[in-house]
């Protein structure tokens, strides 16, 4: 199966290991992986701020970049949602509406792709430690992904998964929200970190690096020891 990696801008720059791990896992599972080189940002920051003309300009670039891809696998549930759910809305009644509608069904979040498209549950990963899983809101509520990452983690040898009470509660990142309303964003993150602390897990795993940036930033500031890892980074361990 030919698969194009969609590595969002902040993953490219801050968490390249996530992309590396994704490529490893996908190649190990026999996918032919490519990385359309022109990719930059999905356009979510201006979109979420209400600047839809600007968002269309950036998103239009993505549409071109991925025009030839058959399957697009995103490292982030949120950026995947942007392409899958919001592009059709963003380009509604514009010239590019057709392209937006065409690309939407090709976009998959990583865990959902593995479980639902490749039909894999056990990727042969080994990782020792206790971990808790954070559901990124976009993945959870826009894409309906809840079971898939847990299925994959259940089959990782040596990993013990402990659910936190606030798994489905937003971490408070929310893109530009996190810097426009830092006090609220931080309070939300603190609720998340308290819930993580209750589980005594060593690792916090998610399928969204943007949430993990917020959570790790707070964990570090609060002196909590838990480390954040993207699902792909766990699945790549053998």
């Amino acid at each position: 199966m030919k698969v194009s990696l969609f590595i969002p801008c902040f993953v490219d720059q801050f968490y390249p290991q996530v992309g590396v791990s994704m490529a490893q896992v996908l190649e190990r599972l026999g996918c032919e992986v490519d990385y359309p080189p022109g990719q930059t940002c999905c356009g979510q920051p201006p979109f979420n701020s209400g600047y839809w003309n600007e968002a269309r300009a950036v998103a239009g670039h993505s549409l071109k970049t991925f025009a030839k891809s058959e399957i697009i696998v995103s490292a982030s549930g949120s950026c995947g949602t942007m392409m899958k759910v919001f592009y059709p809305e963003l380009f509604k009644d514009t010239e590019q509406e057709f392209e937006a509608r065409k690309i939407a069904p090709k976009v998959h979040e990583f865990s959902e792709f593995l479980v639902n498209i490749l039909g894999v549950r056990d990727v042969g990963a080994k990782f020792s430690g206790t971990a808790t899983f954070h559901d990124g809101c976009h993945g959870l509520r826009e894409l309906g992904i809840k079971r898939e990452p847990r299925e994959l983690l259940k089959h990782v040898r040596g990993l013990e998964l402990v659910e936190m009470a606030e798994a489905e509660t937003c971490c408070g990142f929310g893109g530009t929200f996190s810097v426009k309303f830092p006090s609220i964003s931080t309070a939300m993150g603190e609720v998340k970190c308290d819930s993580i602390a209750e589980t005594r897990a060593e690792y916090v795993i998610s399928n969204d690096s943007s949430c993990l940036m917020q959570i790790q930033g707070l964990l570090d500031r609060r002196g909590q020891k838990a480390r954040c890892l993207h699902l792909a980074e766990i699945l790549a361990q053998t």
């Binding site: 990385y35 309070a187 939300m188 500031r221």
Partner: protein
């Protein structure tokens, strides 16, 4: 930034730093969640029920003219006086007028957010009437001269100790730490007021078009007393409260209770179809229904967000909203708090003044998931942001995004910027967290990730050239 936005940010900062307050709200709502899930679990199919509720409200709102006209005809036929008010001021004037005409001095009121919306108590007090809030939570916040904290739980921000002190100071009661004793104190005070009131004022949860009745949902019995004993009953009803058929209530009443309060059904669900009818032994001599527009038609005129008028004011979206759970109800500065308030307030009170509430959301979608009538709440927040920026863009964001677009449309520039980040990162350490830190909004409370030495893009390029070299070597 408008004065409202500044005030919201100030209040949000104050409430989020109050850990005791946050703990109180989170604990109270945990209890609600457990009960709500238990009763939702008894439904054979909650999502189908939700779907049906959404469709019924769609029908009601999208044929509002027809259903409202039917409601008026039917309820007037039983001697009810209907007044249609275009604005809050017209509704207030009418109600004050009825009070004056009938020489009303004492008014007993059961909980109504619509009355809050139009500042009815203030208008009546200004006209020389005394207004007693009869719902326990409303009574408490009235004694504190505060606004309700939550659509459904007006006093959820207070502990029993605070309420005991309040009752001691205002009513002269003995201090107690028993919620039951506190409730009985309020009961005793209110009993006198019911019996002496000249007029009762209520809101309504539903208005049934086909039979011409209003439906009021409550637990305490205060609305029933307020609408049974006084000689005059005035119900203030938003025009969006319409449901087409009586039997629709068989669905809405239990869903409202389960979604809103974590109950299978609230204690009293009462239908009022007129004043005391011939052959009836009690009930008011006059029954007035005031139907209120107050810019609801502006929301109606926006087909994209028209479904926000489906709202049955259950409060479920507040209860699950992580913003509400951290800033609380008083930070919003609106009649309607939480996600539904953030969606509709810009329509009811001006987009530019209230757009900050739509911006103040992580768009997590917990509200939309919780809404029993399926309002697309968090997407409406996005649409409000778009409408606000389209109508009056901010210069700084315009400039910011112009630069952003330019870089993101040119992969070469984008990659250059990613190479610059590691260079700037050590410099950033010098100013981190200080006034000069451009990333201060983040770094004051959170650490920043360290930019990687090699971006994924660079990694992939290396990998590809190695692969080519290997293949070339073979």
């Amino acid at each position: 930034m408008t004065a409202y936005a500044r005030e919201f940010k100030r209040m949000a900062a104050r409430y989020t730093s109050d850990l005791r307050h946050r703990g109180l709200i989170q604990r109270a709502l945990k209890g609600y969640e457990t009960k709500r899930d238990e009763y939702k679990g008894r439904y054979q199919n909650w999502s189908e029920a939700r779907q049906a509720a959404s469709e019924i409200k769609w029908e009601a709102i999208n044929h509002l003219d027809r259903h409202l006209a039917e409601f008026i005809t039917k309820i007037e036929a039983r001697g009810t006086r209907v007044f249609v008010a275009g604005t809050g001021a017209q509704a207030r004037d009418y109600i004050v007028g009825v009070a004056k005409q009938n020489r009303v001095r004492s008014i007993i009121k059961s909980k109504s957010m619509t009355a809050e919306e139009i500042g009815l108590n203030e208008a009546l007090e200004h006209a020389g009437c005394t207004v007693f809030e009869s719902d326990l939570g409303e009574f408490i916040v009235q004694l504190r001269r505060e606004k309700p904290y939550h659509l459904v739980f007006p006093a959820m921000h207070l502990t029993r100790d605070e309420i005991s002190r309040l009752f001691h100071d205002e009513l002269g009661s003995e201090p107690t730490d028993s919620p039951e004793e506190l409730t009985m104190i309020a009961r005793r005070v209110m009993r006198k007021n019911y019996c002496a009131a000249d007029m009762g004022i209520s809101g309504a949860n539903f208005a049934v078009a086909e039979t011409g009745m209003i439906s009021i949902t409550e637990n305490e019995g205060n609305a029933r007393l307020s609408t049974s004993l006084p000689k005059i009953h005035i119900a203030l009803v938003g025009i969006e409260k319409i449901v087409p058929r009586l039997e629709d209530l068989a669905l809405f009443l239990p869903m409202l209770a389960t979604a809103g309060a974590g109950q299978p059904l609230t204690c009293y669900n009462t239908l009022y179809g007129g004043p005391r009818q011939p052959g009836e032994c009690d009930g008011p001599e006059q029954f007035h229904v005031v139907l209120l527009d107050n810019r609801r038609t502006e929301l109606l005129a926006d087909p994209e967000q028209r479904d926000a008028l489906h709202c049955i004011r259950c409060g479920a979206c507040l209860n699950v909203c992580p913003i509400f759970r951290n800033v609380g109800g008083h930070a919003y500065g609106t009649t309607y708090q939480g996600p539904i308030g953030s969606v509709i307030t810009p329509h009811l009170r001006g987009l530019q003044d209230w757009k900050h509430l739509s911006a103040s959301s992580s768009l997590c979608g917990a509200c939309t998931e919780a809404c029993p009538v399926g309002i697309d709440l968090h997407h409406h927040l996005l649409q409000n942001r778009r409408n606000a920026a389209r109508e009056r863009p901010s210069l700084s964001e315009k400039i910011l995004y112009a630069g952003f677009v330019f870089i993101m449309r040119h992969p070469v520039l984008y990659r250059l910027s990613t190479r610059l980040a590691p260079v700037f990162f050590p410099l950033h350490r010098l100013v981190k967290g200080t006034f000069f830190d451009p990333l201060r909004a983040w770094t004051q409370t959170r650490d920043l990730p360290v930019p990687a030495r090699q971006s994924f893009h660079a990694y992939w390029n290396d990998k590809m050239s190695n692969r080519k070299a290997r293949h070339g070597g073979n």
